[in-house]
């Protein structure tokens, strides 16, 4: 019954307008997701690409990303909240740390999986290390790298509800307010919207990944590489 009520809550146009309406909350939610992803990517992608390219510190990646993934985000949020005070900074920092392992692993394994003979060939025709990365390895690594971004996005958009723990921000407000006042239609309605956002972003990024995958690894190329190894 709550589920029916929840959809009724979503369908009510009165819940959509204003500064605390659903539309505004969705924009806030996507904005905090985007900013956290951007900050995490700025840290994790260059590091992952470099480690994949040089092969140095590759052993650390596994241990590091594993340990990072085990950190409970709510605990981290409380810790940062005590250091930084309330507001958006603490939840965003926690979301950045949540997203880093997926991005790092995606960038590293993307570059690492590029056939070393291709990079060797690129060097042999006189490319500088920077050119090898940007012109050869990165384009070939892109499908896997986008996969990392896709996983990170899904994690952030689903966890960004925690922004409402210390700030008047995002779709998490419906979950907290609904839970505490036993307004379950509101709580479930908010959760359904978060799920819908996550699914839409997932489908979009999956489509992007597929398109790039087809462009990068043309069937003919793949066959040749495959036959050489096999």
């Amino acid at each position: 019954m709550n589920l029916v009520e929840a959809f009724r809550w979503i369908a009510d146009p009165g819940n959509w307008g204003g500064t605390s309406g659903i539309a505004a909350r969705i924009v806030e939610h996507l904005w905090v997701t985007f900013l956290s992803l951007l900050a995490a990517a700025a840290v994790a992608l260059p590091v992952g690409v470099l480690i994949g390219h040089t092969g140095r510190g590759a052993g650390v990646i596994g241990a590091f990303t594993g340990a990072f993934r085990a950190i409970p985000t709510l605990g981290l949020l409380t810790l940062f909240g005590l250091l930084l005070g309330i507001g958006l900074a603490a939840p965003m920092l926690a979301l950045v740390i949540l997203a880093i392992p997926s991005l790092l692993a995606g960038a590293y394994s993307g570059i690492h999986s590029v056939d070393p003979t291709i990079a060797g060939a690129a060097r042999a025709i006189g490319m500088s290390p920077a050119q090898v990365i940007t012109r050869v390895e990165l384009p070939l690594a892109l499908p896997v790298l986008i996969g990392g971004i896709r996983a990170a996005t899904l994690q952030i958009v689903a966890t960004a509800t925690l922004a409402a723990y210390t700030a008047d921000y995002g779709l998490g407000r419906y979950l907290f307010a609904g839970l505490k006042t036993r307004d379950y239609p509101q709580m479930i309605g908010g959760a359904i919207i978060v799920i819908a956002l996550a699914l839409i972003l997932e489908l979009l990024l999956a489509a992007v990944q597929r398109t790039i995958d087809q462009r990068v690894t043309r069937p003919s190329t793949r066959e040749k590489l495959g036959s050489r190894h096999g």
Binding site: L82, G85, R173, F176, A177, T181
Partner: protein, 301 residues
């Protein structure tokens, strides 16, 4: 064949566990009955550390006065222990006026200290009564920093009306509660913004208050943090927040002499005392019995 044996084994295990569980249950139930009788008074407490300290104080004061006391502590929530008290299994139980009144009479509109106490005396079930209420309370309250209170010479919630740009911080449900922003406006003419901080007056809320991110927060009056001295509770003369003072619920087996002993305790237990007792429990992790006996010694009981 193998499967059949496994099934039998599972059945045997389940049976053994069930028997063990039954055994524990009957043992637990038999104990109080065996010891009851004579001048023994049963003192109970909620499953809440602060309540247990108060119950322990009642128990030790009664023992000092020559009564035999049996302790039945940490019974759980009101829904669990009230039927026990009404059935006559418990004789003395520390309660809180406002919350108990709302439990007994959900329709009540009383919120002030005296109004709640008077209504509570009326609402008590047959065979039970409340003794004197204490100055000590455990209820919602609005708290500001001492510096902020000094700067704007604040004593009561109403004094906030002259202060611009006040933000109230608390769990998101506070925004819609009758004593939230709307109640502040309608009862005291105080308009506030609201910022959700979802840790129920915990460390994040206190950090936000001390940082000046919010000016007012909702903290329980018995919270040990109030012992730290940098926070001030705003008075609530209009009863915006439900008053809930410590009050003993007693059965008919508590005679005038015993009632007198407990009333002396209630009279001596100040609001500051209760905060200090709670702080001792939280900060020093002292057991309730030690905290209670130390306090009673200080009070010359």
């Amino acid at each position: 064949m193998a499967r059949q044996r496994t099934a039998l084994f599972a059945l045997a295990i389940t049976g053994a566990l069930t028997l063990a569980a039954c055994g524990n249950g009957t043992d637990g139930n038999n104990e109080p009955d065996g010891q009851a009788g004579g001048e023994t008074l049963v003192v109970g407490s909620q499953d809440y550390y602060s309540n247990e300290i108060i119950a322990e104080i009642y128990a030790q004061a009664l023992e000092e006065a020559g009564y035999t006391v049996e302790r039945d502590f940490r019974i759980g929530q009101r829904e669990v222990y009230m039927p026990e008290i009404e059935a006559g299994n418990i004789d003395v139980f520390p309660e809180y006026t406002g919350n108990l009144l709302q439990y007994l009479d959900p329709e009540t509109t009383e919120t002030t200290e005296d109004g709640v106490y008077a209504a509570l005396q009326e609402a008590m079930p047959e065979g039970l009564r409340v003794l004197d209420q204490s100055d000590a309370s455990d209820q919602d309250s609005f708290v500001v920093t001492k510096a902020f209170a000094d700067e704007h010479s604040l004593e009561s919630i109403g004094d906030l009306a002259d202060v611009e740009g006040v933000t109230l911080g608390g769990n998101s449900e506070l925004e819609t509660r009758p004593y939230g922003p709307q109640g502040l406006e309608s009862v005291y003419g105080v308009s506030v913004d609201f910022t959700p901080i979802e840790d129920s007056g915990g460390p994040l809320t206190l950090k936000a208050l001390r940082d000046g991110d919010v000016e007012v927060v909702n903290i329980y009056t018995a919270d040990p943090v109030l012992a730290e001295g940098d926070l001030v509770r705003l008075e609530d003369p209009e009863g915006l927040l439900l008053a809930s003072h410590v009050v003993p619920v007693v059965s008919e087996r508590v005679d005038d002499e015993a009632a007198e002993v407990i009333n002396e305790v209630s009279d001596a237990l100040s609001a500051e005392d209760l905060v200090a007792l709670n702080a001792k429990s939280v900060n020093e992790e002292a057991p309730a019995a030690t905290i209670a006996s130390d306090w009673l010694a200080e009070q010359d009981f």
